[in-house]
Symmetry: C2
Subunit: 329 residues, 2 copies
């Protein structure tokens, strides 16, 4: 390859998309981004969100295009653009219809969480008091997702459900955006048990830079974040980790309310926030937008990581995962 | 090519699909079939119909697969299967949403009629008393269909609307299933003006074997049908004609009622039939199912057509049309 820069893949963002952000992706040399296109949307609403993306692809063909397969990451790099891969944070787009798994894959979806924070038709979310594991429909849907090449994402799921998903799935799964609980014991961060089982099955963890997932939140230092990555590499192996920033750039606070409450509750739920701190928390100063991936790269080198390992974390591992898991069996 | 048999493409069927019919496609050496998957269905209902096809593709992988591109016709031939291409006889699947044009193309739709028999949001159907031509939305949708590679089909449209669609569209259009009015002056058959304009723009006519479109209906002879094809080749040129049988095999009469009335009327409309002859008319004995394409091939030779021209009519012309018109601009 003529370009010596490591491939950069951010495996989760949910920004308030604009030409500005697409240009920042290019300035930041980001080759691919997995974007959330549905939180609570049903199938038809998800299709409307895809239509919105299709308009952006038409409007900004020099900056972005719809990524469908691993090859598109190299195509993005070769043409100086960013490949946009679609995913859902909730199984709401497939409603109660297993046939929609293949349909959404045909429309480009590549990751789907089996739950957001609540119980779903498929599994238990991380905010429920009891975790009953994968449901009857969940087992069927995991099998179908395996068949068509739609990756199971358990970022917002509860522990037992996550361990069962890893066990039941015949293909590796992902936790696209979370950190280890050993570093920051947030409800959304993951236990050593989960991380070890994930790695043992060939799965991937994407490190989040959403302040509620960070030690010291907004005040988290780049050094602390990068040392955590080195420690996680020791726990999981260097081949099973990448970035999933959870960047929610330029979103109004009404959106974090939508993410948390959707239309499932008439009462407000503050999720990882609180009544006094209900909105999006400010990002740490070393990661505010897509131009800041270089900071992480340098931070990892300063933490003692080799160039080869840095390249794996910044995108090489996600690319290998895309190659293995986006195609039908 | 090692296989000397002409490529066989039937560019319209709407059968009551079953393993029996898929096996008959193989016995008849049919390489590709364009199947109607929606008459009056809205988007979500159309997706349910695609899901039904996906199950058939899973159940009968040795007989059929989902055809998306012209190359799939050769792939079908090489693997001894039939490629199934999707189309709509009404624009109802895109509802009032132009963004759905790209979505249905991503799901595999390759032909869409701008109208069934009635006025639609896009154009006028052949049973309306007045034909006001292509609507405002119709112009926008034609442009979008051209962009994404969804072929405009005017089989059930009125004359002025058809001529305007040919004029407005930047890519050739199709009349997938109809015959020339000079041979059988049915409301659904097409005038010399339409056929000449269609050919001049690079479009295609698919010859129908639905009895209401045939001279002498069920009693139509193979000789008469094949002489009509020879005469149409003289009018349009040999490169612009193919087969679009409109075979509705094994359908109960309730289905022809659905085709005619959908949910747009509480009163029954008999379409091309009548109160005394409301059901599906019997097929002529030389074309009752997919095993009978050899009869047409022989009939065309008996009518004096060269082997080369027979190959064009039986599938070569549709294949060339697929190659030029299914991909995005």
């Amino acid at each position: 390859m003529s370009d010596p820069r490591p491939i950069r893949i951010d495996n989760l963002q949910y920004a308030n998309w604009s030409e500005k952000i697409f240009r920042q992706m290019r300035e930041g040399g980001v080759d691919a981004v997995h974007v959330t296109i549905s939180y609570h949307e049903n199938f038809r609403e998800t299709v409307l969100n895809i239509e919105k993306w299709n308009r952006w692809f038409e409007q900004f063909p020099d900056l972005i295009f719809h990524g469908k397969w691993a090859d598109d990451v190299e195509a993005a790099r070769a043409s100086g653009r960013t490949a946009i891969f679609f995913g859902f944070q909730n199984p709401s787009p497939i409603e109660d219809d297993i046939g929609l798994v293949e349909i959404v894959h045909a429309l480009g979806a590549r990751f789907m969480q089996l739950t957001y924070n609540n119980q779903s038709l498929l599994a238990t979310g991380c905010y429920e008091a009891k975790d009953t594991g994968i449901t009857r429909m969940g087992r069927q849907v995991i099998k179908e997702m395996n068949r068509v090449g739609l990756v199971i994402d358990m970022s917002h799921s509860a522990e037992r459900s996550t361990l069962e998903a890893i066990e039941i799935s015949e293909r590796p799964i992902a936790i696209t955006h979370a950190n280890p609980a050993f570093w920051m014991p947030a409800l959304r961060n993951k236990s050593d048990d989960v991380l070890k089982a994930l790695a043992a099955s060939g799965g991937m963890l994407g490190f989040s830079m959403y302040p509620h997932h960070l030690k010291d939140k907004t005040e988290c230092t780049l050094e602390s974040f990068c040392q955590m990555i080195v420690a996680t590499a020791d726990l999981m192996g260097i081949d099973h980790i990448g970035i999933g920033s959870d960047l929610c750039q330029d979103q109004p606070d009404s959106v974090v309310e939508w993410m948390r409450v959707g239309r499932w509750s008439k009462e407000i739920d503050y999720g990882e926030g609180s009544k006094d701190n209900a909105g999006f928390p400010p990002q740490p100063d070393w990661f505010t937008d897509n131009r800041d991936f270089g900071n992480i790269e340098q931070g990892l080198r300063s933490a003692g990581m080799s160039d080869e390992d840095v390249a794996k974390v910044m995108g090489g591992n996600w690319l290998a995962f895309y190659e293995a898991n986006f195609s039908p069996l």
